[in-house]
């Protein structure tokens, strides 16, 4: 899985893409963890702009990244979440335990 990311001032932004389901989640999870381990950011931003579909496997991806950032005493932010993934994240109350920077305009 190739995920585009960039780092600035110890802020790591990772752009998630495509369809996040059980088939793809493990690899996405591992890639996100690897990037966090390499860059040790103070803030990690997961950008959902190009996520075309997400089921509850994506919740596990976010929780995994959140645990990783908590260990580093950093923060996890989610941004640009389209309506479908947002509804799935909200079903798990993710908006209560992570920061959502910007929602995608509907």
């Amino acid at each position: 899985m190739k995920l585009t990311s960039f780092v600035q001032d110890r802020q790591l932004t990772i752009a998630l893409t495509g369809e996040i389901d059980h088939h793809s989640a493990k690899e996405i999870m591992d890639t996100v963890s690897d990037k966090i381990d390499v860059y040790m950011p103070l803030r990690c931003i997961l950008d959902f702009r190009d996520v075309r579909f997400m089921d509850s496997s994506g919740i596990a991806v976010v929780l995994h990244a959140l645990r990783r950032m908590n260990m580093l005493q950093g923060r996890l932010l989610l941004q640009n979440i389209p309506a479908q993934p947002y509804k799935v994240l909200r079903a798990a109350g993710i908006e209560k335990i992570t920061e959502i920077k910007e929602e995608c305009p509907k």
Binding site: H22, A25, S56, Q84, K87, A92
Partner: protein
Amino acid sequence: MKGENYMNLEFPSKSANEAFARAAVACFAAQLDPTLDELGDIKTAVSEAVTNCIVHAYPDELGPVILKARILPDNVLDLVVKDRGRGIENIEQARTPMFTTGGDDRSGMGITIMESFMTEFHLSSTPGKGTTVHMKRKIVRRGGKK
């Protein structure tokens, strides 16, 4: 005229079929003229049900996943997802939000999401025999001719 439409699919419990299953149901459901939101809910529920067969019903082997879709009167999509896998010992527990017997790549939210995204949801299971999810989603009829 009104002969109700349906489709039946059977495929092995390979994770690559998750995307196929939800796309197939989305194409079938298109005749009900759903909104993007409605289609998103349906795809999510199908993905959850099929994933559960793949991950939980057949943890160590491949087995058949049966997917049936029907159009019922009043613009209702009727879905059945069935496996002949290990079954569920305690359904109440399985329905609990965040409960999972899977690893840390599972969230335990699949059943909760199916229940809340669909109009009707029914789960039946026999340990050692398999599990069936039966769900319905009413598609709101919007303006325009049909």
